[in-house]
Subunit: 246 residues, 2 copies
């Protein structure tokens, strides 16, 4: 059966404590929510809804942030927030900061972002996007009676390959990994090592209808057969000690 | 408009010099090919069609391959093919070989794969999957009159994140990157750094209908608005010198 990826327009700039379920249900794109729909929601609106927006003028940069900002011609207040959101810096080169965030993601600028936010402000990643996904899923169940999956997405760069792709930073109601270990290939031989990060693939698929400036922060993926589980985003995070590239 | 991802079944085990266009058109899933369809085709059938299958009994492993095989309990003949397909080893640890392939991909085992192939054989990546994609696209145009995009996909692991995702290794008729540089965000501010690797996202989306053992080596993605270009897979390959993780 064909998979369908449906864009959902939200015509309002999201503010703190907005009701995302209500905005979804009242969208002009009138999406009908069905059981087993997979809702992919961009991090940006979750962060805004949760008040994870910071006014740069309120930030007092440390000497380290000032130094890094001076070295690379960057706003030291933004650098300060990147440091605040990071456990540690993994790479720092030519003004590119790759760090491990408090949540455990390895990405550029710790998810601190100046795009699609009011001038003089930055957005931060949700503190716990997995909890955000769980909460939103429960709210959708309450208001519609439908069992859906919620995945919160963010665009990350990659080593070795140019360009960003959309990845999962929080999820509820779906296994993060589709595990083919023990399954058989078309020759009847056991597949040993194939674990597909399907929630990342679902996020990548959703980006194709979202774009970056289109007021389309939500996509619905329909007809995808998934395994329900108590999986969390942590299932996707490779530890520093098992990582050949840190 | 919703995106549609349509699985295409091929009920025949692909052999060297099979006509993939004919097999596509005679598929029992009866896909109708339309202008601007994006065809994602898994590397495995391209490799088989191009004769990139090797019988292990014909391989004489070098002392290096024998040594690596002995150290990690692996078949030295498979190790030999991995070395043959690699420019250099990027990481070697606990039996995991990450190398840069002759084509420029950084991945595990240089794409040498024992799954979904006859016992005692391995498949190799296509020598030039970009050329394979161009050739197949021209053939589809000739036999159907339709202008389609062809992307050849392979599953790669990632640093930092557990699980593999499907990526592009060859493409024809589409820009590899969707470039938002110079575009404006919803606040009218210029976006500076957003380059999305959309061909990788399209491959990830296709994997959701392909699975690993389902005789579904092709997917059609319909209703995706893309930029045509003379783009090649090389647009996605970050050089060693610009890569912070090699």
């Amino acid at each position: 059966m064909s998979l369908e990826i449906i864009p959902v327009k939200i015509d309002k700039e999201i503010e703190q404590n907005d009701d995302i379920t209500e905005l979804l249900l009242s969208s002009t794109s009138k999406p009908e929510i069905k059981d087993n729909d997979i809702l992919i929601i961009t991090q940006k609106i979750i962060s805004k809804q949760e008040g994870r927006t910071v006014q740069l003028s309120t930030i007092m940069p440390s000497l380290l942030a000032t130094g890094i900002g001076s070295e690379y011609g960057k706003d030291p207040r933004v650098i300060q927030k990147i440091l605040d959101e990071s456990k540690r810096i993994v790479r720092l080169n030519n003004g590119v900061i790759i760090s491990e965030t408090i949540q455990g993601f390895v990405c550029a600028n710790a998810g601190v972002d100046e795009s699609n936010v009011k001038q003089g402000h930055v957005t931060l990643l949700p503190k716990d996007a997995n909890a955000s996904a769980q909460k939103l899923r429960a709210d959708i169940k309450k208001k519609t009676g439908k069992n859906v999956v919620v995945i919160i997405s963010e665009t990350f760069g990659r080593p070795f390959r140019i360009g960003q792709t959309n990845c999962a930073i929080g999820l509820s109601g779906i296994s993060a990994i589709s595990n083919y270990i023990g399954a058989k290939d078309t020759f009847g031989r056991i597949l040993h090592v194939t674990e597909i990060a399907i929630v990342d693939e679902l996020c990548s698929a959703s980006e194709l209808v979202m774009g970056k400036s289109l007021n389309t922060p939500i996509a619905i993926i329909r007809n995808y057969k998934f395994n329900d589980s108590l999986s969390s985003i942590n299932d996707l995070l490779r530890s520093k000690y098992e990582d050949l590239f840190r």
